[in-house]
Structure formats: structure tokens, C-alpha cells
């Protein structure tokens, strides 16, 4: 298993009041698979994605990513584990506003020690998402769909073992969403990356090998 979660619990406190976000979530994902986590707003799906990706820690339970039980690691150790192996696509893109599309993509390689041919690989990643001619444009000069494609290129340029995507089409119109979905799956298929995504979009979820529905912090269905 490339990703495994066992009996994950997570709560937050509002003053003295405990609010349970996740209760006893378990799942296992094989290398090269794609899974979708769906559910209504506030059901805990984004929190679960953060925990699976090692961006956040569970209250209790064990998470193994790439065979390493990182739920006991500190933030720095988890970061090093992600380095060069995990890609992210966010709903709000999170492109750096002062960098061009090419520089945003290069960034992912620049932080991986020993990276070579950064410019060529970044240009290649951009051409894979159809933005070779927009390489020198700043995010503010790109449409929402183009920004998300740059974010996708940034995630894929390192050939990640696992790609985490949080509502990747949440800020896009229908047509653009279709294009981004198509690119997302084809790139994962070509590189053999495992895809874990969170979405409301049923079209997106339907494309995945497995789907998990979460409500009030628990899986209510899975296939």
C-alpha cells in the first residue's frame, strides 16, 4: 500500500466544547490507484486530505505514506518525506503572484535537492498542460483554468508518487473543469502517480477507481 490510514480521529475545541471532525476513518490506497473522497460541506473531507498528505496530524490513529508512519513524525520530518514525492493541487491554485507560470512550475523542482534541467523540465510540464506559450505570464495575466493548469504542471513536474488534489475544479466553469479533469487523469496515468482527491464534482469522482463518501466525519459508503 502506498497510502494507509487506520482508525483516524480528529477533534477541534471551541472553548470547552469538543467538535469531532473525523471519527474512525480507515482506508488503504494501492500505488497507481485513484480515489475520490466526496461529501457535503463541513463533513471533514478536506481535513482528511490534509491528514493523509501529512499536512496535518490526526488526533489518534496511524497514517502511513510511502510506507512511513508519519503520524508520529514532527513537521520537519514530514516535510522531508513529502519532498519530491508528493504533489498538490489546491482549489485556490496557490500560485505565487510574483512568479511567472514557468517560475511557479520550476519552484517545485528548485526545492528538491539534486534537481537538474529545471528549466527544460518545467517547460515540458507546461507544454503537457497546453501552456507552453504562456510560460512568461504572471498568474494575474492568466484565467482561472490556466492558473489551475499551471498548478497541475507544478504538481506533476516532480513525477510525484502521490498527487493530492483538493477540489481542483471548485473555482472553474464547466468547460474548463472538463479540460482540467482530463489532464489530471491522463497525467497521473502516464506517470503512474497515485491520485487522492477531494471533490463535490461527481464527474470527477466518477473517473476515480474508488470513491468514499464522508458525512459527519465518518465514511458512509465506499467502493
Amino acid at each position: 500500500m502506498i497510502l494507509e490510514a487506520v482508525d483516524i480521529h480528529k477533534s477541534v475545541f471551541m472553548g470547552d466544547r469538543e467538535i469531532r471532525i473525523l471519527s474512525g476513518i480507515s482506508l488503504a490506497v494501492s500505488a497507481g490507484d485513484s480515489i475520490a473522497i466526496t461529501g457535503p460541506s463541513g463533513s471533514g473531507k478536506t481535513t482528511l486530505l490534509g491528514i493523509l498528505a501529512g499536512l496535518d496530524l490526526p488526533g489518534s490513529g496511524i497514517v502511513r505514506l510511502l510506507g512511513q508512519p508519519f503520524s508520529e513524525m514532527d513537521e520537519n520530518a514530514r516535510a522531508l518525506m513529502r519532498n519530491g514525492k508528493v504533489g498538490f493541487v489546491f482549489q485556490s491554485f496557490h500560485l505565487l503572484a510574483n512568479l511567472t507560470a514557468l517560475e511557479n512550475v520550476s519552484l517545485a523542482l528548485e526545492v528538491v535537492p539534486g534537481s537538474r534541467d529545471i528549466r527544460q523540465r518545467s517547460q515540458h510540464a507546461l507544454s503537457m498542460v497546453g501552456l507552453a506559450d504562456r510560460a512568461e505570464h504572471l498568474p494575474s495575466q492568466l484565467s482561472g483554468g490556466e492558473q489551475q493548469r499551471v498548478a497541475l504542471a507544478r504538481a506533476m513536474v516532480i513525477n510525484p508518487a502521490v498527487l493530492f488534489a483538493d477540489e481542483p475544479t471548485g473555482n472553474l466553469d464547466h468547460g474548463t473543469s472538463e479540460m482540467v479533469i482530463e489532464m489530471l487523469f491522463s497525467l497521473c496515468r502516464e506517470t503512474g502517480a497515485t491520485l487522492v482527491l477531494v471533490s463535490h464534482d461527481t464527474r470527477l469522482a466518477d473517473r476515480c477507481d474508488s470513491r468514499f463518501r464522508i458525512e459527519a466525519g465518518k465514511f458512509v459508503s465506499g467502493s
Binding site: N83, F90, F93
Partner: protein, 822 residues
Amino acid sequence: MKRIIRQLRFGEFRLLLAALLLITIALSTVSTLSNRMEHAMQMRTSAILGADAMISSSRPLDERYGELARDHGLELAESISFLSMVSTREKSLLAGVRAVSGNYPLRGEIVTRHPDASEVVRRNRQGPAQGEIWAAEQIIGELGVKTGEAVNLGELAVRSTGQILLEPEGGAGILRLAPRIVMNIEDLEATGLLTPASRVRFRLLFAGDQEELNRFKVAITPRLGSHERWSDADISREEVRSTIGRIISYIRLAVLLSAVLAVVAMGLAAHGLRARQVNEAALFRCLGQPGLRAFRIVLEPYLVSGIPVVLAGALIGFCVQEAAAWFILEAGGIELPPASPAAYSVIAVICLLAYIIVLTPVLVSVSRVPPVVLLREAETDHLHNNSPTVCSVFVLIVLIVILLSGDWVLSAIVLTGFSLCSVLLWWGIRLLIAFLAVLIRPRSSCWYIAFKMIFSNPGRSAWIAGTFGIIVFSLILLWIVRSDIFEAWERSLPDHAPNLFLINIQDSDRQDLIRLLDRHAITEALLYPIIRGRLAEINSAPASRSVPDSEESRHRISHEFNMTETDVLPRDNHVSAGTWIPAHGHGFSVERETAELLGLGLGDEIMMDVSGGTFKAPITSIRDVQWENMQSNFFIIATPGLFDGAPRNYITALHVEPDPDALSFEVARNFPGITAINLEMILKRFRILIEQGSGAVSLIFLFALLCALLVLAGILQGQRSSRRLEIALFKSLGASGSFMRSAVMGEFILIGSLAGLLGGGLSVLTGRMLVRHLLELPFEVSWAWVLVGISTGVLVITITGYWCVRRLFHVAPVRLLSLDTG
């Protein structure tokens, strides 16, 4: 380097670096310039003294004093002064002779010219050679001595090789009675003039490192006898000290404002960068960078770019202060000590520290940000809280005010005043907006939208108008003070300022002198009696026990005051307390600073000792004296008749065109006892000082203006997102680009008017207080400054505001409504 270039694409980062550059320039300019000016004043005082310090006595000085001074590494010179007759075969004249060692003066110079009164001026840093003398123009004129001709001093014949124009102790000697001769001390014995009965003043002069001098002073003071007195360079000519002191005060004020504005601009920029950098750090963590590395990657560009900017600022500061120093002092003929490189290092470190302090909220946020914020953006809401930035900016402002003022009390007053003005302006503008919202119902749709934008965002409008109100307030105040300083100087130095002083006028010569002056068409000469006396008692107690315990006050009462009698208040004197002429009986009028120094107040009865006779009367008025006016000014003035029977002579100050030389020669020829002092050279220097000082001060004012623009740009940059949204909404409802441009410009015009109205009003109200207490100038301020404030506010806010949002007017609403990534 790549990262720095990338960061420079952020307007906030450019603003941050520009503010850092300006604050470095401002601080390095002012600290170095004011230090150099203070040193220059010290040097000038030293030049007047001829040394950094001296011991004088009526008896020969103990040789061990000299040995002790050498042990402290000080340079030594000697002078002996006495009165003697100087003669040729035909004539003789009483002269004040000063015999000096070869290395005299240790500071300053003796300016001489050829005895035949040619235009060749020599600046001598050493006294005359053996066998030679330099003499005052009266001696040369009266005795008819030509170049190289001999005159007799006692048993010795010496050659006259120079005519004295300026000499050390000239300031103090302005009222010395006899015209001066300077000779070499090695010739003194041969003259045979000194006998045990001679009335002689012996002086030992010292120069060297200030700290060594202080240690020497501590060591020597207890050994000094009652007839020996220590003097150092702490008292300079009142006119120059007052003039340069005001320039320094003004520069400090202007730079304080520039520095505060630059810090605010830095704070605004840092606040804008905080949210961006936190996101960037979170992204780096997501991409697998451990906390410290992510922290370093994000902040390295800031720290790395801060250092060259500070160095560049220090370099520019050096050039600016060199230019300003040249304008203010060197063009005025005043020598400047070199700038110390250490001072620049200290300023550079201080500015880097300021930069780091202002970046601290960014550093803290970036170091703490968890990567999960990229998934849950609500977790970054706290980043919009500006309290950390406000705190860091406030801490920095406090530190800068203390650093520049060097005075805790003054700092507290300035900070409290500044905070009060800010609160007043903020609430004044909020109230004004609320009032206008009720009162105004504009019909034009464009103005309607402009008003709506203000009324629906009172906080945003008050923030920009309040801040710019403070800026308008400060800039107007700075300009008023600047104008007033120079107007005061202009007033004090009109074209007909006196350029010739005639002193030592005896009562018997008065009528003849007036007739001579009449022949030269000088009819308004005021002859003031000069009575010299010591302050003996205050309220029937010895003055030495009554004055406050300070070195300056002890020094003051150990000297004779130049006093006069008159019932006409001299020009540029203002009675600040009491009555100029008492209703009955006699009274004294005392100059305000002297009264404060000696702890004298209205009603105090003082007794003056004039040549053994005593004269007692109450103080009936306290006067402010404008020392720069170059007139005959007096510390103490008595009502006519109070000094009846006291020995006196007279003084007058005249304006003679084109040059007073001819008249002074004629006076010297007809009245051998009268000393004529030509002030033309000093006046020329003084005028240049004022003219060039004006240019330099304007240069400093420019800093404040630039910093103000930076602050405004920072605020507008911060408000860009909300304006973007507003313009998008109105455009989506059908407003055209040009309509929105008019509406937004209307909003800026209204905000500018509010800022200018309140800022201008506040500056007029507080200006009087500040100018009176800090710069000690009489102040008249016109309400027209409010109009100036409104016009400045409208112009600057409209132009800067429009510049910041100009690109938004023609962008499609759908683009404007998309996420703000620009």
C-alpha cells in the same frame, strides 16, 4: 539574486525597500550632519578662544600645569596680554599687546592683511615671527606705519608686517578697550615692559582629544588658585550659536518626521507582504521543505536585499549630508570636521535593526505557519489583524524619536502629541464623514457614487484621510517653520544691518563724533552707554550663593556684564514679562536666558558692582533678545540714571556703505581712543550662511515629502483589493470605465479635501506652540495654510490614488471579480 528579482515584482516589497532606503538616507544625513555642525560650532568656539580650553591668571602660571597637560597628550600654547604704549618717532598710542608662543593659536586663525591695506588676506595658523608684530588697523592708521617699518615696544623695535582683521578671542575682545598688537613671546623680555607691578594676564592654552581634555580638566580644576580660571569652548558667539542651533533643530525635526513616515511606510508594506509570505512559506512546506528551510527561502531575499539597500542609503546619506554641510557651513566660511565612518556604521546597523523589527510580524507568522493553511484558508484570517504591525511600527517610532531627540522627556512629549493628533484627526474625519452623509445629497450620479464609496467605507476613508491629514499637518508645519526661520533671519539681517561698531567712545568725544557722522550722512546713530559690572548680590544675598549650582552660572557671575542705561526698548528686544519702564523708581531689565540661567525673576532685587561702586534695584522686566540682528545687545539694561556716577564709555552700531573702511580710518585718525570694528566680513559670512542654509533645509524637506508619498502609496496599495471589487461591481451593473474613473477621482478629491482641511487646521493651531517652544521664534500664522492643506490634499491624494488604481478602470468585470492574484 533570482529570488530577490522575483520579490521585486511585488509593489509592497519595492515600497519596503524604498522606505528602508529613505530612512537610512534620512538618519545618516541628520545624525552625521548635526554632529558635524555641533562639532563645527565647538571648533568655531575653540577658534574664538584660540584653543579648546585655557587657564588664565593675573600671575604667572605654575609650570606643572603645562607638564600635566603634556602628560595628557595635549598641545600647549602660551599668551601674555597687557597694556602698553606703542610708538613711532612722531606718535605714540596705547595698545593691548598680546605676546604669543610660535604655535599660537591652537585653534582657529589670525586673519591679517598687508599693512598697506592691500586686498591680500592671509590666514595665519601661527603667530608672528620674532622681531615682527601684527597690529590692529587703528594702530596702523594712527601711527602711519607702512610695511616693514619699525615701531617701538618698550626698548625693542619691531617691524609691522600685518594688519589684524580677525583674531582669536576677537568675539570676547569686541568690547576690549585698546586696539590690539600681536607679537612673538620670545621678544617679550627684550621689550623690558613686564615688571612685577605690570597688570598682566597670563594664559596657558590647550588643545587635543576631547576625552583627554575632560580628564585633564578634572585633574587640574582642584589645583587652581582663586586667581586662576579655567575656560573652555562651551560658550560661543550668541548669533552663530543661535543660527546654527536653529538649523540643527529644524533638520532634526524634518528628519524625525521623515523617519517616522518612512517607518509607517515600511510597516504598511510589511503588513501587505505578510499574507503573501505566509502563503508562500506554507507552499514551500507543502512541497517538502522543513520549517527552517522554508523560512530561510522566503525571508532570505528580504534580509539579503536589506543590506545593500542600507549601504546604498548610507552612501547617499553621506553625499546628501556633504552637500548640505557645504551649503550650510562651508559656503559660509565655517570649517567642518570630517564625518566619522563609525557614525555611518552605527546608522547602518540601526536601520537594519529597524528593518528587522518591522519585518518581525512577517518573520513570526512565516515561522509558525502550518502547511495545512493552504487547504483551510480561514486559518489565515488572523493575518489580516494589523495589531502586530502596529506594535512593531510603534516600537520603532519610539526608538527613533528617542534616538533623534536624545531626550526622554521631549520624546514622550512628541509621541504623546503625535498620538493625540492622530486620534483627533481620525475621529475628526469619522465625524465629518458622518456629518456629510446626513447633510449632502448629491444629484450628479458620479458624485453620488463618490460620496457613497466614502460613506459606505467610513473606516477606509478615515484611514487614508487620517493618515494623509497627519502628513499634511506635519508637512505644513515643517514648511511654516522653515519659512519662519528664514523670514526671522531676513528680518534680523536687513540690508542695512550694522557693519561697523564704534566702541570705547568717551563722553568728551560724543559730540565731535556725532558731527563727524553727520558729515557722512549718518544721522541716526544711537550711542549706548556701556557700564561694566559684576552681579554682586541677589535679594541681599551674595550672588555666588544664590545662583543655581552650575558651571555656566558660576562662569557667568565671575565675569563682568556689559550693561547700558536707556528708556527706549532696543530694536528686536521684546519684553516677555514685567514692565519695560517701571511706574516709579529704578529697575533692571534682564535678558530671558540669562535670567533663567541665574535663577532671576521679576521683583528680585539685584546689586551690581561697578568698579567698586554698588547699584541696587529690582528686576522690573525680562526681555527676549534676537541675538542674530548684529545690533548692540545687552544682557542687562537699567533705567536712565540708575548708574549715575559709574564709569562708562559709549558704543554705537552703524551701517556704512559701500564699505566702512574709510570711515573707520577717519574715526581712528580723529579719535585715537575710539576702537572701530569692521563687521563687514562677519556679515558677509552670515548672509551666505542664511542663503545656503535655506537651500539645505529645503533639501531635507524633500525627504519628508518623499516619505509622505511612500506612505500614501502604501495605504493605496493595501486598499487596492477593495477598490478592485467595488469597481467590478459597479461595472457589472453597467457603469462605464470613464464613469468609474470620475467617481473614484471624486472620492479621492473628497478624501483629499477632508485630509487637507483637518491637517491644515491642526497645523495652524499647533504651529505656534511648537515654534515658540522648540525653535523660539515669534510666530504669526495665517489661516490661508488651511487652503494650502486642502489643495495639497486634493492634489496629492487624487494623483497618487489615480496612479495606483488606473489599470482597474478598463479591465473586464469578470477579470476584476476573479481571485486577486496580482
